[in-house]
């Protein structure tokens, strides 16, 4: 390995470790008695600036556990999962499973799903702009062929399920609303995140609607998706769901099944 490659890798090793850097690296630095402090500027940049990017991605998690705990977790996360891309727009993909792996957080079992909502929000925010389904597109399909068509959800759409009322928790933390009481006994939550135009929307939907969208997202025909959804939720009514959502940006394309 060239001296440059060796030095750069040793430097990166030292950034990842919270310990005093190896003697072999410190010996490479011009020393005026402050070599360690000088190195620390870079390690602080690495930990804190990437931690800032994570805090920007997960503002609700930060509110739920507090600044101090968030910073401690962010430092550990940055060391475990340093940025894989130069643009930090989507940094923090592994944070939801990371939260699940921390024993101290087991008393907050909803945290990881709330984090998934936040990550999906940002993914939608930066996703490619796509048109929404138009009346024109649907009206060209013969009525008898509709059921066998694929009805594709908008490409920016994400589906998140949790056993806890994570939509309510996420919603309560969008504003400084101090008076809300959210009971975990409210139970499960089915969340849809999408960006039909410029604003990201976060909606709570029924269990049936969630599974309907999930099957449609997998490319199944409308008939099959409906059957699967009604098995999950026999109260699912495709009529009222589609009347409300067929043209509101939830969908972007209808086409004959492949």
């Amino acid at each position: 390995m060239s001296p440059l490659a060796e030095l750069q890798q040793a430097f990166c090793d030292a950034l990842l470790s919270p310990e005093v850097p190896a003697e072999s690296l410190l010996n490479e630095l011009v020393d005026d008695g402050l070599a360690l402090q000088r190195f620390n500027v870079y390690r602080n940049n690495f930990i804190v600036l990437n931690g800032d990017a994570l805090a920007d991605m997960y503002p609700v998690i930060k509110r739920l556990i507090g600044e101090e705990a968030f910073r401690a977790l962010a430092s550990a996360y940055v060391r475990l999962h340093p940025p894989q891309e130069r643009a930090l727009l989507l940094y923090g993909a592994q944070f939801p499973p990371f939260l699940e792996s921390i024993p101290e957080l087991s008393g907050l079992p909803y945290l990881s799903a709330v984090a998934r909502i936040e990550y999906a929000w940002t993914e939608s925010y930066h996703a490619e702009d796509s048109a929404v389904l138009s009346e024109q597109q649907v009206s060209t399909v013969p009525t008898e062929a509709l059921g066998s068509c694929q009805l594709l959800p908008h490409p920016t759409l994400h589906l998140i399920h949790s056993d806890y009322p994570v939509h309510a928790i996420w919603q309560a933390n969008q504003a400084d609303d101090c008076n809300q009481v959210i009971s975990l006994d409210q139970g499960e939550s089915h969340v849809v995140i999408l960006r039909p135009d410029i604003d990201v929307e976060v909606r709570e939907v029924s269990r049936g609607a969630f599974h309907f969208l999930k099957r449609l997202q997998l490319g199944e025909s409308i008939d099959r998706a409906y059957e699967a959804a009604s098995q999950q939720d026999n109260s699912f009514d495709p009529g009222s769901f589609l009347t409300e959502h067929l043209f509101d940006g939830t969908f972007y394309k209808i086409k004959p099944s492949a």
């Binding site: 602080n44 060391r79 101290e104 008898e144 933390n173 975990l184 043209f247």
Partner: protein
Amino acid sequence: MKKSTSVLVASAITTALAMAPMTGVHADTEKEKCYGVAKAGKNDCKAGPGTSCAGSSTVDGQGNAWMLVLKGSCEKIVGGSLAEKG
């Protein structure tokens, strides 16, 4: 595939189509000046907190060297497994 499913789905879609506004324009004039939420960029070329000890604190995520001090936001999340914490 049950025939009733197809009929039900087709009728749901034709109903949705019948009830949709056929204008094809969705209040575009309202949106002309709106570019959406302006989220701050995350890449820049500033330096962080300098020589503080932020990067050398010994939390390691392994659960043995640190205690998480959880100070949550002001709304109350109650019930479920949190009930005992009041």
